[in-house]
Amino acid sequence: MNWFERLLGKKEKSGATAKQRLQMVLIHDRADVSPGLLEQIKDDIIEVIAKRLEINPDTVVVNLDNTTKESRLVAEIPLLQNGRRRAAVQ
């Protein structure tokens, strides 16, 4: 968006929206991984990790990324803070 449209409080242009939507859909198309499959993988990962570590399932993010030549699965799994405190007590 340019300065003038921001001044008028306009919405993002549809061309830019189109590009973003395309980039998202192509990440899934190219890897042949549907958003539904990604959800299942996420649930499986949570199950495995939660056996050993304390995590909050709501904060886990699993995404496909193909900013580079290859597509990769990126999982972000924040650990609960009290894990560290408990380690200190022991």
Binding site: F4, G15, A18, V25
Partner: protein, 267 residues
Amino acid sequence: MSGKVITVTSGKGGVGKTTVTANIATALAMMGKKVVAIDADIGLRNLDVVMGLENRIVYDLVDVIEGRCRLRQAMIKDKRQPDLYLIPAAQTRDKMAVSPSDMILVCDELRQEMDYIIVDSPAGIERGFRNAVAPADHVLIVTNPEVSAVRDADRIIGLLEAEEKGPGRLIINRLKPDMVARGDMLSIDDVLDILAVELIGVIPEDESILVSSNRGTPVAMSGSNGSSASQAFRNVAQRIEGQTVPFVDLTPKTGLLSRLNNWFSKS
């Protein structure tokens, strides 16, 4: 002589494959090349009407493949261009009447006497697409600057790589420069960013294309005094011939506001 087979495909229907095929074939013929266009869309014949040759069909591609006529008999000679021919699709059969190896055989025979064999692929990614791509030396992918067409083009690029026919070169058809300038259409750079293939042509949206298909006279035939689309098609033909032709500047004339915009975005 060993002619080149160029297949025009897109995945999505309605993006302008047939128009692109007719015009590139015409433009190459106008450059003095011997050209035959093949309609590989069996059952949905259309290249004949776009080229204005529908009244002269006797035999078609399936007749050749099934041995009912010689190849030469199915080639309709365009009376306006001395070295332009069309092999029409069969209208009452389906895609299963042709196999990829049939297409390779037909094209190999045509290579002997033609400079270019331009194959118009049907939409889709099934048998018809594989038939059209099997004989190709080069593939042109036609897309429009919109989400669904670019998505399908991406799929086609992947399939071409799998068939070792890739990566193909891209034609962006029906670009509206004023909409791009307003930010309401994917730009050439947006599409190239996403698809990462070589660009061989940009065809602006142009009413003269519909007028010419109404008449059955491809716009490329209108010569140097033709429309912007006509020029764009002739540029594609020159690039196919290996010439370096700059892309026509399609940015609309700038008014005060857009100049202000440019000034602010630069600073």
